[in-house]
Amino acid sequence: MFKSLNVTARVFERQIVQPRPSASVNSVRQFYENFVPSCTIYDIDCPDISFRKFTDDGKYLISFSRNHQELIVYRPTWLSFSYKGEDCDSDALSQRAKRFDSFFIHLYTVSLATSNEFICKDVFLYLEGLEFGIFATSTAQTHEVPATEGAVNGVQCVEKIVFHLVRLEDGFILDEKVFCNDFVNLTHSMGVFLHEDLLCIMSLRYQAIHIVQIRDSGNLVDVRIVGTFCREDDELFIGSHIQVTEGQIFLSGIKQRLLSYIFRKHWSEETDQTLRIQHLKKKFYFHFQDYIDLIMWKVQFLDRHHLLIKFGSVDGVVSRTTDQHPSFFAVYNMETTEIISFFQNSTEELYYLYEQFCDHFTASSRSSLHANFISSHSNNIYAFDQLCVIKNRASSFLQFVKKMVTSLPYTCQSQSPSPYFDLSLFRYDEKVGNSPLTQVP
């Protein structure tokens, strides 16, 4: 609700009126109604680098060199300027405002990639409290993929992928995590997810979810790997108790959990003993091989203990269009190693969760103040209206549901928490203008 054009009055009100309990961030964000960018400066000479993103706290501007091997970080210094009179236009601005270095101070340039590697521009995750950044470098993709034991056939292979943890204050590379002959989907950082201090990396080739903790000291510590084994001591237990003969392969731990969940679900759906077997045959055994062939595509944290895993077929990973291939979602509890829920991408139940609780899929931590205000159709009536319009216009509800849930699992830090994108404060046309990155003419 727009309060007042009078900035002075709002500042005085802020001095004397306390915001409602737990609503101080709301008050801060509402103040942005009075401060809207109204002037664009064109034709500024910028260094020839590729700008990536401002950090959400506004402290750093992340950019990469044109050869994708160096990280260049700037400190935004917002130029202050005062003008007496009305209708200040860009001609009145001093010459200083037309220079790049009036706005940004170059902090450092750090080389992340060696000769045959390059930085994946899409991957940048920011830990707000510690001011750490996560970047990724990789070598080129190899096209002839040898079939390796434990690797899924049909998934691409990259010789070396390295995740770097960088302290953004001074550019010091704190730690690295290396993946050899593996494949992590780094396009739009889909293969990684950061929640508080936990990072999960989806290794598609070996079908393993690596959970890594980022310590305050800057170390990357392996917490667990979910995939072949679920509990930390599974590998030890199997090694010491079971003699695995040649050619005898166990299904991976996560697959076993999934199959047992599906079995128990269908078992409990039918109470009559004789009909139960028929029901199981139809629902479970008939599709058994399809379930076995499923692979994990994408993963996100729902909280510190729960993962939302998207399953699909091997063909779906490689192809761009995922519409033809059915996909499934499973909620997995890492502590109890149980699957809690399993949905197909066309189920109404999954759509209901997406419609009502979309903002909880961002899994923002409580310490990150503005991230909890990212507008979505679950927390904003205008966005919900827009969703309803699309829903009513859709010719098939099934297709509509499938289209909506393709955005799950959520891609970490893909939406800006800026108040300018807050639908309760501003209205904007998403199709006009660039994505929320800095505009460089």
């Binding site: 409990s268 909280d303 909620v331 829920s341 969760l353």
Partner: protein, 98 residues
């Protein structure tokens, strides 16, 4: 209402002129609101109760709720005739009359 409003300016001086305090000698500061004491102890919270926020977020609560509903085996029709729930108890004689 001189003792409550004082000499504050008023739009109409006749406002509130009909109101008289019930007890002219009672000072406002000594008026305490009536307190109510419960006549039973059925709703007393347990002595070691601590109220905290739910750690699990609402999305996960919904998912768990639905999962429990699904995995609970559905009762056959004959079972529903005999009430097994303990939520309704036969009313006994009152023992808490003061």
């Amino acid at each position: 209402m001189a003792f409550l409003m004082g000499d504050w300016p008023s739009y109409d001086p006749q406002n509130f002129s009909q109101i008289r305090p019930s007890d002219p000698s009672a000072q406002p500061s000594k008026l305490t609101p009536a307190t109510y004491h419960p006549t039973h102890n059925r709703t007393v919270p347990p002595p070691n109760q601590v109220i905290t926020t739910e750690a699990r977020n609402i999305l996960l609560r919904q998912i768990y709720q639905k999962a429990e509903d699904k995995l609970r085996p559905k009762r056959a029709a004959t079972d529903l005739l005999t009430p097994e729930h303990g939520c309704k108890q036969p009313r006994g004689a009152f023992s808490n009359d003061p």
